[in-house]
């Protein structure tokens, strides 16, 4: 015990083995052929069984999630083809086959062919939802392509008749099983399209094994369905059977009866639908009439109809008011205009030149009078002054003095007044002036005056 071995738990080794197995891609997707034994369908939905052949056995399990769509019921002794992966159930340390898909053996190759064709056509877009035509709501005639014998045709016709007896049915009999089935179905679809009498086609047959249904998994049928101008309802087998035809059809019905139900509306439903439409029309019209009546009554109640005089009176009142306003406004502006005229007239009168003329004339008269007065006064004053000057002059006149006995002595020529005795000599001739004439005299003696003093 120099080198102690590493001790592992059971769980650890089981988990390791599981990891190893699950890591192997080859073990994860395998097809196995074997016979079922110890089959148990557990209440949980999972299926437990053993697959065996001459040389060995393998514990297998198919979970509910995978077996729900299983198109057959597995049982002990049944030979099957199973697809799945190998792994370990850790608790028991047992490796098991985990089945994801299963088919009864013998048709395994068909199943593979089905998957391949489905994938191919799907890739081509043959199953696209967008390519699917709507089924007419009220088909005028129904075409049925199926076997003229058997449950399917009976189910379809009985259901169509029950739901809508007035829709004509055109049956194109075909064989639905065997080698000739697929070409005959494809040809029938083409024929129905050529005749163009029906609005919808039901193509199908009753349920059966995968082999029995095989015609509906053939490419030629799928292509004929897609090429049909008339919408196609597929009706193949029972609910769990999906065929290529189902994928290609415009509508898939689980059974022939269901196809007939999808193809035509039910008479009773149509009658009810009609009654309902009539009700809706009556209700709509009733509502509209009610609204119209209400509008009419509303209008009729209007005071214009019930008391038309009042409306007139209101207008009359308005007219009066307007007239008043008009008058008021007119008078107002006329008054203002008159006032203005008066003011202007006053100003004009005030500026009247005739007054000025009178005034000026008056001033002129006054001035003339004053001038005359002044003139007369001045004249009188001057006359007075002149008179007094004259009188003064007169008083000073030498003649007056001479009249009082004085005389004036001039030289001979009466040019020079002789004032002194010294200006003359004896013998000179002199002229003496008296108040009333002249005397020519000669000086005879001179006598100077002695001044006292």
């Amino acid at each position: 015990m120099e080198q102690p071995a590493r001790v592992l738990g059971i769980r650890d080794i089981n988990r390791y083995i599981k990891m190893k197995l699950e890591g192997d891609q080859q073990l994860q997707d395998v097809w196995l052929r074997g016979e079922i034994s110890n089959f148990t369908h557990h209440s949980s939905g999972h299926m437990y069984f053993t697959l065996k052949d001459e040389s060995g056995r393998l514990k297998s399990i198919m979970f509910a999630s995978h077996n729900q769509r299983l198109p057959f019921r597995p049982k002990d002794g049944m030979k099957v083809l199973a697809r799945g992966g190998v792994s370990v159930y850790e608790r028991d340390g047992q490796y098991q086959f985990y089945v994801t898909a299963m088919q009864p053996d013998g048709i395994g190759s068909l199943y593979l062919a089905f998957e391949q064709l489905k994938k191919k056509l799907e890739t081509e877009g043959l199953f696209d939802e967008a390519a699917k035509r709507p089924i007419p709501r009220y088909p005028r005639a129904i075409g049925v392509i199926t076997s003229p014998t058997g449950a399917a045709v009976r189910d379809i016709i009985i259901t169509l008749q029950r739901r809508h007896p007035s829709v004509p049915i055109l049956l194109h009999p075909v064989s639905v099983q065997g080698k000739s089935a697929a070409p005959s179905i494809a040809k029938a679809i083409a024929t129905m399209n050529r005749l163009g009498e029906v609005d919808v086609l039901i193509v199908g047959r009753g349920g059966g094994s995968l082999e029995e249904l095989w015609a509906f998994n053939e490419e030629i049928v799928a292509r004929a369905i897609r090429a049909s101008v008339i919408p196609v309802i597929s009706a193949v087998g029972h609910e769990t059977d999906f065929t290529i035809a189902d994928f290609a059809a415009d509508l898939r019905a689980a059974t022939p009866t269901a196809a007939a139900e999808l193809a035509v509306p039910h008479m009773t439903e149509l009658r009810q639908g009609l009654a309902h439409l009539e009700q809706r029309m009556s209700k709509s019209l009733g509502l509209q009439l009610g609204r119209a009546r209400e509008r009419y009554q509303h209008a009729a109640r209007s005071p214009y109809f019930t008391q038309p005089r009042r409306a007139l009176l209101a207008q009359a009142e308005r007219l009066d008011r307007l007239r008043d306003r008009l008058r008021y406004r007119t008078e107002g502006s006329a008054g203002r205009a008159k006032e203005r005229i008066a003011r202007l007239a006053g100003r004009l009168a005030a500026a009247n030149p005739s007054e000025q003329v009178v005034y000026a004339r008056r001033r002129t008269t006054t001035a003339v009078r004053a001038l005359e007065l002044a003139m007369r006064r001045t004249l009188r004053e001057r006359q007075d002054a002149f008179g007094s000057a004259i009188r003064q002059l007169d008083a000073l006149s030498p003649l007056k003095v001479m009249a009082r006995g004085y005389s004036l002595v001039y030289d001979e020529q009466e040019k020079t007044l002789i004032r002194s005795v010294e200006e003359v000599q004896p013998g000179d001739l002199i002229r003496v002036r008296l108040a009333d004439g002249k005397l020519d005299c000669q000086i005879w003696g001179l006598h100077g005056e002695v001044e006292p003093g």
Partner: protein
């Protein structure tokens, strides 16, 4: 509407017209006179559809291909089919 015009309509056409009339009436923006006309037409169409529903032709034919081409003959499903689904 003439009776000829009525019968010339297919059930589907009549139904479509009827549904169109109902939709127009329910929209409420149709003048009253038009609404009354539509109502009368709708009622006539409804009656026509009802009559068409009652026309039981029960015409079921099967195509048979022979030397001369396609022939037709009346078809009645067999009643004695065993093991079939319950049709009803």
């Amino acid at each position: 509407m003439s009776s000829n015009g009525e019968t010339a309509l297919s059930f589907e056409e009549a139904m479509e017209r009827l549904e169109g009339i109902v939709a127009r009436l329910e929209s409420g923006d149709v003048p009253l006179e038009t609404a009354i006309e539509l109502y009368q037409e709708g009622m006539a169409l409804s009656k026509l559809c009802g009559q068409k529903l009652e026309q039981v032709e029960r015409r079921i034919e099967m195509l048979i291909e022979d030397g001369d081409g396609l022939q037709r003959k009346p078809f009645a499903p067999q009643r004695d089919e065993a093991g079939g689904d319950k049709g009803e």
